[in-house]
């Protein structure tokens, strides 16, 4: 198991380097170049050229890239062109909030989605199946941020159970902190729930119709045990890949949900940076997101190792 984990981790390194290179290259072409962004609309070309030289941006691209990678490896992503704050500390403040949202969302999605899918499969073609499939179809078509608005209307405005917006730091206590995350995580997770439920259902149906299920039943294995112990584990193999994909999507989904709830995560940082051409921030965010996705894929691979004996080295 450890060997597998180690091998996969090593294999991820070149991918991260590649992503870093691409991130760097891309933003070299941003039409709004940094000095112009800093000086604003009225800047003369001479002033822009002077600032470019001052910032050392007139040096060749490979030098800049190596310098950037060298600093990035030490956790230094430079300073924001706009706020002049350190990018790394800015990200360090915001990333935990976005991560909490994303992980909360996927945990809700798995906890609700898998049982829903299993139930629909077990009662296939019954009214239970039809009702669940109907709800799933609607959830799949709903934009997460509209769902968020509806949740706010229902639970914050009408029922007044939960806050409509804002972020409470954990220092204020566990419950106040957690309360603020319930609606955003639900809004983020329900779409993924539908996705997982749909895939679990079809995967489970396949397993229920499988030869081994028939053989186990023919030997007298009780239905409940067949479903929970045998079919579920087999059915989870394709669903695991879907869960990985959805987890990767959670991060960008969270950027949108953060806006609805005015949560100070990575989302607002990115939007501001896009609007202002704040290259150092964007480069850093791309790398952070890429690393997150790579870690998720690594976990999925390890998950496969846990389920499938063929992947597990002896």
């Amino acid at each position: 198991m450890w060997k597998l984990t180690f091998a996969r981790t090593i294999a991820a390194v070149p991918v991260i380097i590649l992503v870093a290179l691409v991130a760097f290259m891309l933003f070299r072409f941003v039409p709004v170049q940094a000095p112009a962004a800093i000086l604003g609309d009225g800047a003369t070309p001479e002033a822009v050229a002077r600032l470019t030289a001052e910032m050392g941006l007139d040096r060749p691209a490979p030098v800049l890239f190596l310098e950037w990678v060298g600093n990035a490896l030490q956790g230094d992503f430079g300073r924001s062109y706009v706020t002049n704050l350190e990018v790394s500390s800015e990200i360090a403040h915001r990333l935990p909030i976005t991560l909490t949202l994303a992980l909360g969302g996927i945990v809700i999605a798995v906890l609700l989605g898998v049982p829903t899918g299993v139930a629909a499969a077990l009662y296939r073609n019954s009214w239970i199946d039809r009702a669940l499939t109907g709800v799933v179809s609607v959830l799949l078509a709903m934009p997460g941020f509209w769902l968020a608005l509806l949740l706010v209307l229902a639970f914050a405005v009408q029922l007044r159970w939960l806050p409509a917006a804002g972020y409470t730091p954990p220092s204020a206590g566990l419950w106040p902190w957690l309360r603020g995350f319930i609606l955003p995580c639900l809004a983020l997770g329900l779409g993924a729930t539908a996705n997982i439920a749909r895939h679990t259902r079809s995967s489970m149906l396949q397993q229920l119709d499988s030869q081994y299920a028939r053989a186990l039943t023919a030997r007298g294995c009780p239905r409940g045990r067949l479903v929970m112990r045998y079919c579920l584990k087999n059915a989870m193999m394709p669903v695991l890949a879907i869960i990985g994909m959805l987890t990767a999507l959670m991060l960008s989904g969270s950027f949108v949900i953060e806006k609805v709830f005015s949560v100070p995560g990575l989302g607002s940082l990115i939007l501001d940076s896009i609007n202002r051409g704040d290259t150092p921030v964007l480069q850093a965010v791309v790398v952070v997101v890429a690393v997150f996705i790579i870690v998720v894929n690594l976990l999925v691979d390890i998950g496969y190792g846990l389920i499938d004996p063929k992947v597990r080295p002896e």
Binding site: A141, Y212, A218, M237, I274, K310
Partner: protein, 597 residues
């Protein structure tokens, strides 16, 4: 094997299919037969009309504000209310449809035009082209679409077209993958090779011969991607990265709603419902296309009450002439029928009026070509006829106990304890991610209520008995660590673990190598000697029958056409079909019985 000589004789399942093919309506008719698809199609068409003629059908200018009439509810003047600037929500939603459909067109059309030809090309060429392009596709698909759009917007500036360009690039990758998969599936087929031999140009083969096969999947994909495009457009406009500020877009309307929905919920309900309905419609259309293209898979909805309840066994049903049922039979079938609903809704019999019985210690062979209903007969005995099929009548008596109509709870106590079963492919009959030992003892633990440890000890004994060496350690192995022959031995051991009176062996040697087949057959004969159980042996192989069975029944088209002792049947086959079967066998392998390998 025998199928070639007897291909004029159609099996019931095949005739059922041929039956459905005649009644199969054309694609459009099939599509329109699905109510949800019709509704979805209606909504999308309505949207297209509204989008094109927005300036004529919308009651107001979408940007005409009126401070006096801000945040109105439903009214005569403003059917769906007004927003914070007093603009008519219905009009804005109608103009929003134009933005949404424009986004769909911008995202889907270029993607299709680029992705499909490249997919055709790389799949047909293969080699380095394929490898390099697929690597790029994988990298691109690993990046969330929204982030990709962010990057594009950061580089090329804000705007719907730039955003949709990024989305389009992502969509092109998924068209590429899809087309590639279809080509890879079609390429080895005979018609492509025939076209190649004809000397047609690559382009002609790709576009005239292979592409038509991809149209179905592409239509399904297009419909689903259209929904995705709408969601992404809405998301980007909501974030202020899509349409320019103030333009009517569903996403931008939801951004306004964010601030004012507490005062007027319609602000969020109108655009939100528009997005959801549209995306749902595109998804339903995709499902509808898929179902209409694979129409064989549709099982018609049964009308309530149109199916008579399964017939209860008649207690004193007369035994048919070729039944030799005696009161001490281990298993006695009397007039058993199994039926499935066909496309037209009527029921089609795949097993009809079968009667036979098996004496203690007897090996009874059931032969017939594939589709003759022999495996369905075993399913009936085990109470495993897959839905929506059912036992239509007759009685199945196991050691004096009626099995037809027995509740599932009681049936599950008989399976594994009184009837053991071995199936065709041992590798398929084992869950690949569970230990073989654990799978062997599931029934035993339940039937005899012993501990797993005791059960595993018994499993080891039986594995040893069926000739698996190092039995105790092999219990902890996974199926992929077993060879096919060893796995089938393990399945035989598992079937016998509760010492059942009857072993059903459903083509247990078909999936195995010839040498291994022989070993398994010898094992069965030997076990019958030591354990004394009866065996119902299903096969299409007459040589195996001659070698193994005491008595034989021949099945054709779901009916038992002839029955007798093995010697009788081989010396003097009475039914023309039996003779045909033996003739076919001799033509291929020499006289039956002597050719036993």
């Amino acid at each position: 094997m025998s199928d070639q000589a007897t291909n004029t004789l159609q099996a019931p399942l095949e005739t059922a299919l041929a039956d459905t093919q005649q009644k199969r309506p054309a694609f459009l008719a099939r599509l329109l037969a699905q109510p949800s698809t019709v509704l979805a199609l209606f909504w999308v068409l309505l949207l297209v009309v509204v989008a094109i003629f927005a300036q004529y059908v919308s009651p107001y200018d979408p940007n005409a504000s009126s401070v006096m009439r801000r945040l109105q509810g439903l009214s005569q003047e403003n059917l769906l209310g007004t927003d914070d600037l007093g603009r008519d929500l219905l009009s804005r939603a109608m103009w929003g449809a134009r933005v949404a459909l424009l986004a769909v067109t911008q995202a889907v059309l270029p993607a299709m035009l680029v992705g499909v030809p490249i997919g055709l090309f790389v799949a047909y060429r293969g080699g380095w082209w394929d490898r390099v392009v697929m690597r790029l596709v994988e990298v691109e698909q690993a990046i969330p679409m929204l982030l990709f759009a962010f990057t594009f917007i950061a580089i090329f500036g804000r705007g719907l077209t730039n955003a949709m360009l990024a989305v389009s690039l992502g969509f092109a990758m998924s068209y590429l993958r899809l087309t590639r998969a279809v080509v890879l599936a079609e390429r080895p087929k005979a018609y492509v090779q025939a076209a190649e031999i004809q000397g047609y140009s690559t382009l002609r083969i790709l576009f005239r011969h292979i592409l038509p096969n991809a149209i179905g999947p592409i239509a399904v994909q297009t419909s689903i991607l259209a929904g995705v495009a709408i969601l992404i457009e809405a998301m980007l406009s909501f974030l202020g990265l899509g349409v320019s500020t103030g333009s009517p877009s569903w996403g931008a309307m939801l951004d306004d709603a964010r601030r004012f929905q507490i005062q007027q919920p319609l602000l969020s309900l109108v655009p939100g419902a528009a997005i959801t309905l549209t995306v749902l419609s595109f998804n339903l259309l995709g499902d509808g296309f898929r179902d209409a293209f694979n129409s064989d898979l549709i099982i018609p909805k049964r009308k309530k009450g149109s199916i008579p309840a399964a017939v209860a066994p008649e207690p004193d049903a007369p035994l048919t002439q070729n039944s030799t049922a005696t009161s001490d039979a281990v298993l006695a079938l009397n007039n058993v029928s199994v039926e499935f609903p066909s496309y037209s809704g009527s029921f089609q019999r795949v097993v009809s009026n079968i009667s036979f019985s098996i004496a203690p210690g007897e090996i009874y062979g059931l032969v017939g070509e594939s589709g003759s209903g022999k495996s369905m007969t075993t399913s009936a005995i085990l109470g495993q006829v897959p839905k929506p099929g059912r036992i239509a009548g007759g009685s199945i008596v196991l050691a004096g106990r009626q099995l037809v109509g027995l509740p599932e709870r009681q049936m599950s106590r008989i399976r594994g304890r009184e009837i053991g079963a071995v199936f065709q492919d041992p590798m398929m009959a084992l869950s690949p991610v569970h230990k073989v030992g654990d799978q062997m003892i599931e029934g035993l633990v339940r039937h005899e209520g012993i501990s797993r440890k005791q059960a595993l000890a018994r499993a080891a004994e039986l594995l040893d008995l069926v000739g698996v060496t190092d039995a105790r350690n092999r219990l902890d192995d996974y199926p992929h660590q077993f060879s096919g022959g060893m796995a089938q031995r393990a399945m035989v051991a598992a079937a016998l673990i509760c010492k059942p009176k009857l072993l059903i062996a459903d083509e247990p040697t078909t999936a195995l190598d010839v040498t291994v087949q022989k070993q398994v057959l010898e094992l069965l004969l030997q076990l019958r000697g030591t354990l004394g159980m009866s065996v119902l042996f299903i096969t299409h192989d007459l040589a195996v029958v001659a070698q193994l069975c005491d008595r034989v029944g021949v099945m054709k088209l779901g009916e038992l056409v002839e029955e007798g002792t093995t010697a009788q049947l081989f010396a003097n086959p009475e039914h023309p079909y039996t003779r045909q079967l033996m003739l076919a066998r001799e033509m291929l392998d020499g006289p039956a019985g002597k050719s036993a390998s």
